[in-house]
């Protein structure tokens, strides 16, 4: 940062003595922070360690013995939890600052091991009998509890993924790359309902002031799950997709209102993009079903639609951006 511009602002009376002092200090401080790099290395460390352990156990299951494996995992997991219990700041329903980066990742390691352990015991000893869903439900409950107790958003994220798994939906990177498991009608309905429920959780977190800062994470998962499942449902339920259009548009209206209320550019943009996807689906489907015109003309109509509608979308985004900036007092 060039100091001269700030000095000029100070001379103009736009910066206080305290602010310019902070800026001067910052200018003289040449320290660089590798905070996020360290977190990334810790994450890689946890993934490598748990990944390596998992494969090692799998390959040597006959030599090591089940009890030894269970014992080792249980002891390590308990050690991680006791470390976290010793270091944690007192529980509060408000946001609790993490005592440190090591705390976050030791807790994550302990939780991964705990969830693995339960899955392993169920596979080996059938502690829940044939109730396989319980083996997902119990870790999910523990993950939710630990996420709230230790105020850990990473664990909350794992808990939400487990909740989806318990309901029969797999949420991982494959959902975003292709429609992994989201291709049968029941799963789609469940996914859309779960999306709506997560949005509701987010709202409840905010109004009840119980870990209100978790609301963003619930909402993120909820929004994308809701829109992605509704969008895929348009294809899967075709030609009887009209109820899904209503579901989709209800989501769009809600998210648009939220974006205006919170002055959120993020929700504004994703609402417009997702809604554009829905409208485009209907238009293309209607053009395709026109029986009176030649297919060559249909192609032209589709391309013309996309050209003009995307230009309209550009104008809409620019206009909305202007309105948001005006509300924020920047114009």
């Amino acid at each position: 940062m060039m100091p001269s511009f700030f000095e000029y602002l100070y001379e103009q009376g736009l910066l206080s003595e305290a602010s310019i002092e902070k800026i001067r200090q910052k200018q003289s401080d040449k320290t660089i922070s590798l905070f996020w790099d360290l977190r990334l290395v810790l994450y890689a460390g946890v993934l490598l360690l748990t990944g390596g352990l998992g494969v090692l156990i799998y390959k040597n299951i006959d030599h090591i013995g089940h009890l030894a494996i269970i014992g080792a995992m249980a002891v390590t997991s308990l050690f991680c939890y006791s470390f976290a219990l010793k270091r944690m700041n007192p529980f509060s329903w408000n946001e609790v600052k993490s005592p440190g980066v090591v705390f976050d990742y030791v807790l994550l390691l302990g939780s991964i091991l705990m969830v693995t352990l339960i899955g392993y015991i169920q596979y080996q000893y059938r502690i829940f009998g044939t109730e396989w869903k319980l083996a997902t439900f119990i870790p999910m409950l523990i993950l939710f509890y630990t996420a709230y107790f230790f105020d850990h958003q990473g664990l909350l994220s794992m808990a939400i993924v487990n909740l989806a798994a318990w309901l029969g939906i797999t949420i991982n990177e494959k959902v975003f790359t292709h429609t992994n498991q989201l291709n049968d009608k029941e799963t789609l309905i469940t996914a859309a309902l779960l999306g709506a429920a997560l949005i509701l959780f987010s709202w409840l977190s905010r109004i009840s002031k119980r870990k209100a800062h978790f609301q963003t994470l619930y909402h993120q998962f909820g929004t994308h799950l809701y829109f992605i499942s509704s969008f895929i449902a348009l294809f899967i339920f075709s030609p009887n997709y009209y109820p899904w259009v209503l579901v989709y548009l209800a989501g769009s209206i809600y998210h648009y209102i939220k974006s205006v209320k919170d002055h959120s550019y993020y929700y504004m943009v994703i609402t417009m993009i997702y809604t554009y996807g829905c409208i485009s689906f209907i238009v293309v489907d209607r053009i395709d079903k026109l029986s009176t015109i030649h297919y060559d003309l249909k192609d032209k109509l589709v391309f013309a639609y996309f050209t003009f509608s995307s230009i309209a979308l550009i104008f809409l985004l620019i206009r909305q951006n202007k309105i948001f900036r005006k509300h924020a007092g920047l114009q």
């Binding site: 905070f35 396989w132 993924v161 550019y265 993020y266 050209t307």
Partner: protein, 382 residues
């Protein structure tokens, strides 16, 4: 030369500095608001998410309009005349958006540049594909055009494209001169990458080139990555030498690449720490990981899972040691958070959810889980 007004760019830089200072909590919200009102943005340069939205919409508009023209006119997609014409028209719109609508990194100007450039280059390909050395001519053209686009629009991707395509051009040139020379392409690429890094490092400090500083910074990172790749023994041995049946490493080059596999990452990382260059430290760290993997591939027979456990534990211990014993004031590197980064925490949490996922026994009871989960190393079939 630069399409954007330089005074306006300076004004935008000042605003960006104020916004950065506000993000770091150095100035109050009231002060920030009053400064930003006093110095309004000279460009339409929205935040990243709006830029992405506008970019997507622009991409759809430009490509579907081109398809519509092809359908109506009956031209072939591979016809260079229509490609040149359309590409030029896209550049005219781009210039209009910059001059009359003051767009700067709005998503619209970015995509107009990439699509206009791509269409003209496709036309170039159609025009020269039947000549005796089409790829030599085309790569030379793309390099020159990308340099021109970088100078005109100060775009970092164009700068990066120019460097990469120049390397490809060098390969075709060596091949044309002498096939034996072509064999030494990795060494030539290493020299080009190092030279590019030094030139970019020199130019990035020039005040009169300040509007291109992000392009030079990008070139520095890219040239380091290329240097890391072409100096790695595994890459050279498996991806390059293997494509020449009958050719083998001479002892000199074998030891040369073993040495560079170690030295290039170490030099990158050590100089990064010494000069407190975060980007260099990051690139250097990845190079070190690649070097370690290379040596394990050739010189050890330890199973992968054991290596994962060893390195995972090692990483955790190193981090713990650094946090416990490292004193920031001693060497100018700290591990504390420097700014409010709630959004980054959110991304990290979602990555944990997606990366670690759920560890769930499947309903069939076969094997250990329902597939596609991470954690405990279990992948698809576990």
């Amino acid at each position: 030369m630069l399409a954007y007004n330089k005074d306006k760019l300076d004004a935008l830089m000042n605003r960006t500095m104020v916004e950065e200072a506000a993000d770091l909590g150095l100035i109050s919200e009231t002060e920030t608001a009053s400064i930003l009102v006093r110095y309004p943005s000279p460009f339409f340069s929205p935040r990243a998410i709006v830029r992405i939205g506008l970019g997507i919409a622009t991409m759809i508009a430009v490509s579907t309009f081109f398809s519509l023209i092809l359908l109506i006119s009956g031209f072939n997609m591979g016809d260079y005349f229509i490609q040149f014409l359309y590409g030029t028209a896209v550049f005219v719109v781009l210039e209009f958006m910059i001059r009359n609508k003051s767009h700067f990194r709005s998503g619209i100007d970015d995509l107009l540049l990439y699509q206009g450039f791509g269409t003209i280059m496709a036309g170039m390909y159609s025009l020269f594909e039947r000549t005796s050395d089409p790829y030599l001519v085309i790569t030379a053209m793309i390099t020159l055009a990308a340099i021109a686009a970088t100078i005109r629009y100060a775009d970092r991707l164009m700068a990066g494209l120019a460097l990469i395509v120049f390397m490809v051009f060098t390969g075709y040139l060596l091949k044309k001169i002498n096939l034996d020379l072509y064999f030494y392409l990795p060494q030539v690429m290493l020299v080009i990458a190092i030279a590019c890094w030094f030139v970019a490092a020199k130019l990035v400090t020039k005040p009169n080139l300040r509007h291109y500083s992000h392009c030079f910074e990008f070139l520095m990172i890219l040239s380091l990555i290329i240097a890391g790749l072409v100096s790695n023994y595994y890459v050279i041995s498996e991806a390059w030498y293997d494509s020449f049946p009958g050719k083998e490493f001479t002892p000199f080059w074998k030891y040369f690449f073993i040495a560079t596999t170690v030295l290039v990452p170490l030099i990158t990382m050590i100089t990064g720490f010494y000069q407190k260059d975060k980007k260099r430290i990051r690139v250097g760290s990845f190079m070190v990981v690649a070097a370690v993997m290379t040596f394990h591939y050739y010189f050890t027979s330890t199973p992968t899972e054991v290596l994962c456990i060893i390195y995972g534990s090692l990483l955790l211990l190193i981090c713990y040691w650094l946090l416990k014993h490292h004193k920031p004031k001693e060497n100018g590197i700290s591990f504390t958070e420097k700014q409010d980064s709630a959004a980054l925490y959110e991304i990290e949490s979602m990555l944990i959810g997606a990366g670690v996922g759920m560890i769930t026994p499947d309903h069939s009871g076969s094997r250990f889980g329902g597939g596609s989960f991470g954690g405990a190393g279990s992948g698809g079939s576990y």
